[in-house]
Symmetry: D2
Subunit: 137 residues, 4 copies
């Protein structure tokens, strides 16, 4: 599977997710086992202190991990998040946050991923580990 | 602390969160140690299969747990999510989802909560456990 | 499947686990979707402050959840822990701890469980959620 | 703080934990923010298929992370595990397993760590993220 194919596969699924459009998530990079997505601070995405909401950060981590998993799955598979655990370590004061999702164990049915969310200063905002499930159609 | 006071405390913070307005989250119930919030299916909140996005479900679980924690904290405290872990168990096919957040251990600095997200049929969509942190101002 | 059969199934697997003998874990109760196990404080199971070690508490939570999952799986299945998340909420000052494992979603391949560990005073020591995997032989 | 001091601090606490003696855990390396521990396969540490028990793997991950956290805390602090989440990815078929615990965010009260458990072949057996709490005496 080449990079163009993987990018197309991820972006076609990505564009079907209206919630990702709503929060303005963007695909930055796709390779086998690794997907990077980003999101910019907007007035509609904030929590009570004016910082990017934890729900946005978690969503970004989740999709970077989910799509990283998808790149290791057979064609016609869909990816589902079985569970995710995220530690929110620093407030997201940055104008842009970036989530790097990587596969750490690619199984046939289950794919274990982690995702690191950083700001423009490269400091870690959050770290997620997650179990993804492959459904074959 | 009476119920009116707790409701006011939660709703004032809630209304400052623009992201909660964006997803249409609503407060259903507030009591000491327990907060219920809900959210309706909208075209902008979906994943690639047309179901409510996991990020929305997780956000709802998080805020129900966070505000449940807040009701046990001293006045002038703010609540931060240290970490959350959520198992997504069933697709959210319902038109409305409800998250019931409850405190299971109220400490001085850390409050441990869980949240159960169900659909209108009362089936469990997701279950979260989370560690909340109290910051005093 | 009757209760005797389920008890036999769990206890046969239980007895093959030398580590459970080492820590003195005991089966207290088995029913479909629910298994209770216990463990007593011993001089060999302690942490630096003389309390039951978190590793013992976590092991007990894990096996109560794993065996609860097994009771919902087809014969000849084995159960594997995919992941577990545990919040350790109170020190285990009790002479005996009890872990109640319960299935909250029984799928074909994945079974989601939770386990609550309490002391003799019924106070919650720890709460776990976990994803179990069924392997068919 | 020099390496000898940190090693002494960790090993003095380590030796007080009878459960670590029971499972035969050993300190391999101590530096600020990073602790490596190991454990060998023994007949008393197995699960039903004759592999190292998940409870042993989790304990090893926990203590590597806990002691990594301790090396960043003020003198006279004790470290407590607030929560841990571990993904068990491969069976522990190795005769020896090694857990590398590292601090990813050192706060005043909370320290976030991760731990990677590998076998002698360097393949990842398990990955943990955890929240540690510093108690000052």
């Amino acid at each position: 599977m080449n990079a163009d194919y993987l990018y197309k596969r991820v972006s076609e699924s990505f564009e079907k997710q209206s919630f990702l459009t709503l929060i303005g998530a963007k695909i930055e990079h796709v390779e086998k086992g690794k997907v990077i997505v980003s999101c910019e601070r907007k007035e509609t995405l904030l929590q009570q202190q004016g910082l990017l909401h934890g729900g946005v950060i978690t969503t970004l981590a989740d999709i970077s991990g989910g799509y990283a998993a998808l790149t290791t799955m057979p064609e016609n598979s869909e990816v589902l998040t079985v569970e995710l655990k995220i530690n929110l370590m620093r407030p997201a004061t940055s104008n842009k946050i970036i989530a790097v999702g990587e596969v750490i164990k690619a199984g046939k049915t289950l794919v274990i991923v982690e995702s690191t969310v950083t700001g423009e200063d490269n400091k870690i905002i959050a770290k997620m580990t997650s179990t993804m499930y492959s459904t074959h159609s």
